[in-house]
């Protein structure tokens, strides 16, 4: 392997002309195998794997060249060769395809259902949609055997104000021997709700896949629609979108830094970070009318331009951050009792991070220099100067510092955007071709890279849309991060990951 480029491999397949901006090809099982081997051999990185009636789609990234594409395998017999058999990051995605579409991954070592808990009135909602008759059966957790082991079941309702999910710990005294996650509790059937939705409704839905990343999701959806319809967006819209995206990153990183410290019982840091976060939300509301910036980014541009005093509001916000942040960073840096909890805790092997194509802070704190703003990149970031910070420590402390670096970076980006905001309209008209078209986008949210793939029907409604949260490739690594740590450090590890339940469960 490694002799073929991704482009060359996809070119062997039957190209789908209406797919933009990257290529999609209908492939044979032979090419499918070639791709799976390339994923397993680290030539390529898995970006997404999803199904529809009679077909599975595999999105792949070639990090060395930055090229990406989608391979689609027809499944006339209702099954496809498992990707997860050779490439474990695909396993949960395949279990999801089996649950939702009913296509069976042949050879997947884990045949258990994933999102389907046996509670829906139908099974395989995207496939046969058969009424369910059998009662839900108990989920069989993976075994952990040995002397003096005990299990700690946690959730789905957790002790804090957080989303629901189940964690099954097996511990030997204090040390965690195995953690197994069971997710899917907040599965809302978003993909099926998107079927046939108007663009307006679909944008609202995709903007609520994970509420904390609403700007990034809305942006990914808008960019996918614009790619599909070959619409050019006014320059000012690009810059305003980036402004909102950086505000979202600021608010979330700030909240996370405080929350991680709070889980080590260091409430002072949490209190101050929460104030900074609140200031971002208030500035966002003053500038764009919504504290979390929901429904502000739409296909074609942004809903509303920055008001007359918006620039001043945001400059004041940046100034406040510059005053308040350095003493907090010093506080973190100089509190040995706090670092005693974070340094060396929740280490993730960089090789696992590479294998899983894990993005965001977790990836960059573990040597993987991937940022969708740079690769594949999208406007206006190619005109903005910023580095991709990378660390090698890959522990809770490293992830805190990476967030601190990115907060500084976002502040600088906000300033620069305000400085150089081009004039002109903030939204344009979408082109309507009256034909079926497909689009894809990869956008860097605060948590990592968000993929949105969609097909629009001839009448301009959504025929199929698949949003893939970065958490898909981060949740499994949390199970690895906690190994050999003590149970009491799980909150620290978990918060330093801050994966999305809603984004993953869909």
């Amino acid at each position: 392997m490694g002799v073929h480029s991704l482009r060359a491999v996809l070119d062997v397949g039957q190209s789908v002309a209406e797919h933009r901006p990257w290529s999609r090809a209908i492939v044979t099982p032979e090419i499918w195998h070639l791709l799976v081997e390339g994923l397993a051999g680290r030539t390529w990185t898995l970006l997404g794997l999803w199904g529809e009636t009679g077909m599975v789609h595999l999105a792949v990234l070639e990090e060395t060249t930055g090229s990406m594409g989608v391979a689609s395998l027809p499944c006339p017999d209702g099954q496809f060769p498992s990707v997860g058999r050779l490439h474990p990051p695909a396993q949960r995605l395949e279990r999801t395809i089996a649950d939702l579409v009913g296509l069976q991954p042949v050879g997947n070592p884990d045949p258990r259902p994933w999102l389907d808990h046996g509670r829906w009135p139908i099974s395989q909602p995207f496939g046969a949609a058969m009424p369910r008759t059998e009662l839900p059966s108990p989920y069989s957790f993976l075994p952990a055997e040995g002397e003096s082991l005990h299990q700690i079941p946690v959730g789905p309702v957790h002790a804090g104000i957080i989303e629901p999910g189940h964690f099954r710990f097996t511990a030997n005294g204090e040390a965690v021997v195995r953690l197994e996650e069971r997710l899917g509790y907040v599965h809302k059937g978003i993909e099926s709700l998107l079927d046939g939705a108007t663009l307006e409704r679909a944008a609202r839905l995709v903007g609520r896949v994970s509420g904390d990343s609403t700007v990034a999701y809305a942006l990914a959806f808008a960019r996918a629609v614009e790619a599909a319809t070959e619409t050019d967006v006014p320059a000012r819209a690009h810059w305003l979108r980036a402004l909102m995206a950086e505000l979202e990153r600021l608010a979330n990183h700030c909240g996370d830094i405080g929350a991680i410290c709070n889980d080590a019982a260091f409430a002072l840091m949490h209190a101050h970070c929460a104030v900074l976060r609140e200031r971002v939300l208030r500035a966002s509301a003053a500038c764009f009318g919504h504290r979390l910036l929901m429904d502000c980014v739409i296909p074609g541009g942004v809903v509303a331009d920055l008001p007359a005093d918006g620039i001043n509001v945001l400059r004041a916000l940046v100034a406040e951050f510059r005053r308040q942040l350095p003493p907090l960073v010093d506080l973190y840096d100089n509190t040995a009792s706090l670092q005693d909890r974070t340094v060396g805790t929740g280490f993730v092997r960089p090789s696992l991070i590479r294998q899983f194509g894990c993005g965001g802070v977790i990836g960059r704190a573990g040597s993987r220099a991937f940022d969708a703003r740079r690769q594949p990149g999208y406007p206006p970031y190619e005109q903005l100067e910023f580095a991709t910070p990378v660390r090698t420590d890959s522990d809770v402390n490293g992830r805190v510092w990476l967030r601190i670096t990115e907060v500084h970076q976002s502040l600088k980006l906000v300033e620069e955007i305000l400085e150089r905001l081009p004039p002109g309209p903030a939204r344009g008209e979408l082109r309507r071709s009256g034909q079926i078209c497909e689009g894809m986008a990869l956008v860097e949210g605060f948590r990592g890279d968000i993929l949105v793939w969609l097909r629009l029907a001839a009448d301009g409604t959504v025929a199929r849309c698949h949003p893939r949260d970065p958490s898909w490739f981060q949740w499994p690594l949390l199970e690895a991060a906690i190994e050999n740590n003590i149970v009491a450090d799980f909150p620290l590890c978990n918060k330093s990951f801050n994966c999305s339940y809603s984004g993953h469960d869909l």
């Binding site: 907040v186 059937g189 709700l193 609520r208 994970s210 979390l292 506080l331 100089n334």
Partner: protein, 172 residues
């Protein structure tokens, strides 16, 4: 750290003035709370938050209630870790089929007298996620609801107005 703590002694508090209880919430609650319950609960209410399927937007704003600007605890509210310690269940999200039983069991584990506050447009009727195979609908489809706080997500101020109405009715 000492410097940071000392600075806070001299600085004016960030905390906003308490809003008036929401009229709408008072009207919704008016008929539901009896005197006996008021006496038993005294002057404080313990809240257990349950995400029954939300997009996590509501959780972010409920979190914000505890920051220095809104300071929920000054009113006698505090968030507790178990439904067994709670007087109020703050429930968000369209209730998903996969969370239905967990919500029912959380409600059953909460001792009487208790209130349920459905937070957000999704908590009312499923919001944008209504319909489809995976969502049951609003919170009231599964457990009795005393108060709805609308919004997508409701702002901390809206949440505060609703909760203060609950406190006023409960204090009698």
């Amino acid at each position: 750290m000492r410097k940071l703590l000392f600075q806070n002694l001299w600085r004016l508090p960030l905390t906003v003035a308490a809003p008036a209880p929401s009229e709408h919430a008072l009207a919704e609650l008016g008929a539901k709370v009896d005197q006996a319950a008021r006496r038993r609960l005294g002057r404080s209410l313990a809240i257990r938050e349950v995400d029954a399927g939300s997009c996590n937007g509501c959780e972010l704003e409920i979190h914000a209630l505890n920051n220095a600007f809104y300071d929920l605890e000054r009113f006698g509210f505090h968030v507790v870790a178990s439904p067994r310690h709670a007087d109020v269940l703050l429930v968000t999200g369209p209730v998903t089929a996969n969370m239905r039983e967990a919500l029912e069991r959380t409600y059953a584990a909460t001792p009487d007298p208790k209130w349920v506050v459905a937070v957000g447009d999704c908590g009312r009727d499923g919001g944008v996620f209504a319909g489809g195979y995976a969502c049951v609908g609003g919170v009231a489809e599964v457990v009795p609801v005393d108060l709805h706080v609308p919004g997508c997500p409701p702002s901390p101020m809206q949440l505060l107005e609703g909760l203060l109405a609950l406190l006023q009715v409960q204090r009698g």
